[in-house]
Amino acid sequence: MPAAAGEPVSGRGAAGEEAVSLRARLRVNRPAFTLDIALDVAPGEVVALLGPNGAGKTTALRALAGLTRMSGGRISLRGRDLDGLPAESRPIGMVFQDYLLFPHLSALENVAFGPRCRGVAKAEARRAAAALLERVGLADKAAARPRQLSGGQAQRVALARALAVRPELLLLDEPLAALDAHTRLEIRSQLRRHLDDFDGATVLVTHDPLDAMVLADRLIVVEGGAIVQQGAPAEVARRPRTDYVARLVGLNLYRGVAAGSGVKVGELLLHASEHFDGPAFVAFPPAAVALYRSRPDGSPRNLWQARIDGIERHGDNVRVHLGGPVSAFADITPAAVAELDLSPGQRIWASVKATETHAYPA
């Protein structure tokens, strides 16, 4: 997805800033935790902050919203400084993890709340709110109280409420985390459509890689309060740079030193399809790993002897945890498990084709 898919921002800011809606450097110091990240978001772009729990994603989002005081840094939105402004004066809309719909107000009143606070006349605010509810497919739920709504409906009302203030920056905190798997699928694609229609900058926080891939134009991976990797979702998925990302996207990842087509990872030399020299990451999917009871004939380029540390179900397949010179996951069919008669502690041969092994500079 192109980075700047949004509407042209005519004559706003300096020429170099035209493609940037949000430019922020966020610093929050807490005892035992420091957040320090920089992010730029183009108009219409959706950036996902992805990271494990406690990485500082939500803190970053709250700092953008003005709900958490920053220790330093700057936030500028369309060339205007936000960092001095209280939350209520920032042109933002925010969807919270558990939506936080006001329980004493109807869905319509929840959506109309923002416009009313920003000085829109009551009748006009209600008309706009009704239109937004219609857009998210909840026209018939206008009079319902939040506790009468299902999770998916509440999520859509929360989105409508955030969009009702016509924000320049939309913030979404784990927007799908509170939903069950089935609803999630449906709401995710609806949310994608609504985000496509939104022409401001969007920052969303998630720990779910699928949400990030489907919803975002660009991923920023945050670990321990700092950015460890960023890029287009496909790029991040193909070339993870931390164990966390590798686990998320389901790749075995190692750090080593490349020389030509071989990457030395500890004692083991892994051959990849790329050729270069220097510090490198090398990655292959678990499904690319083949297991043998005895040393296979022929000569697969990457072959090593491993120990089985564990076996578990993984979707329709079986995931085998391998120890040895490198630890790795191997995904094989249940039939293969039976045929090989695998059990923990057993020694086994593992191989990966060089064509399925990818190396890239670290």
Binding site: A65, G66, L67, P86, A87, E88, S89, R90, I92, G93, M94, F96, L100, F102, P103, H104, F113, G114, C117, R118, R161, A162, V165, L171
Partner: protein
């Protein structure tokens, strides 16, 4: 006691049930004493006496006005204590509860020292506006509000602390100023706590005696509320005092019970 009751009690932990029942008996027994000793045969004529109704009306009006004042002043005070951190907040919170521990009579004297004719503020009130508070119905309201306000503040502050502040944050991101957040989000969400506090406050004001008689004095029609009438009746005619107490009790139970059903139990 029927067997089903006994069966049910068997499953409950007696360590809790026994003190609970003892506590209930302890609270209810004095009321039973009043009911048993009440001069039922002469109840009608005694109740019909105009001074009874006069004192009752005065009690209900004063307690209600005092509760209103407590709401107007106490809810913002509770908000300040629960939501704004300022130096000395713990001290202020302790000060707010002072009227709870202060013997009401002392409270009444304290009010005289401040708002009395020669009091620090009272002097000025009289010279500047010609307002004197002691021995007036307004004085009764002030004495009752002074004694009852802590009940409201503590109750509302508790509700505020229990309320999820993230709703207030959500409102802020929608552009609501702190005042709008309070009025349109916080207040509706803590309403059960406010009502419970107001009910407690009203009940305390209704039964107020010490501060009232000390600060506002005792004169039929203007400052003699039911508790004062009860006290004086006790000097000469204990039976009349019981009747007056029963009236006060009945009125408060009816009002509290109807309020609870309507407000406190429904979310």
């Amino acid at each position: 006691m029927s067997s089903s009751t006994r069966e049910r009690a068997g499953r409950l932990p007696w360590m809790l049930v026994v003190p609970a029942v003892a506590g209930l008996v302890f609270l209810v027994l004095p009321l039973a004493g009043l009911l048993i000793r009440a001069p039922w045969s002469t109840l009608g004529p005694r109740l019909a006496e105009p001074h009874v109704l006069e004192a009752l009306r005065l009690s209900v009006v004063c307690a209600s006005v005092a509760t209103l004042i407590c709401l107007v002043l106490g809810v913002p005070l509770a908000w300040l204590l629960a939501r704004v951190s300022f130096p000395g907040r713990r001290l202020v919170r302790a000060l707010v509860t002072v009227p709870l521990v202060l013997p009401p009579v002392v409270g009444g004297v304290a009010l005289l020292l401040v708002l009395g004719r020669r009091g620090i503020v009272g002097q000025w009130l009289e010279s500047a506006f010609g307002i004197t508070l002691p021995f007036t119905t307004a004085g009764v309201v002030i004495a009752e509000a002074f004694v009852a306000m802590p009940f409201l503040v503590i109750s509302v502050e508790g509700a505020l602390r229990g309320a999820d502040q993230r709703f207030e944050e959500a409102a802020a991101t929608l552009g609501a100023s702190r005042w709008v957040v309070f009025r349109r989000v916080t207040l509706p969400m803590i309403m059960p706590g406010v009502v419970a506090g107001a009910v407690l406050c009203w009940a305390r004001a209704l039964g107020e005696f010490g501060a009232t008689i000390t600060f506002a004095g005792n004169f039929p029609g203007t400052t003699r509320t039911m508790p004062l009438a009860v006290y004086l009746a006790l000097e000469t005619e204990p039976e009349a005092a019981i009747v007056l107490s029963l009236v006060l009790l009945a009125v408060s139970v009816i009002i509290l019970a109807s309020l609870r059903d309507r407000w406190v139990n429904s979310p």
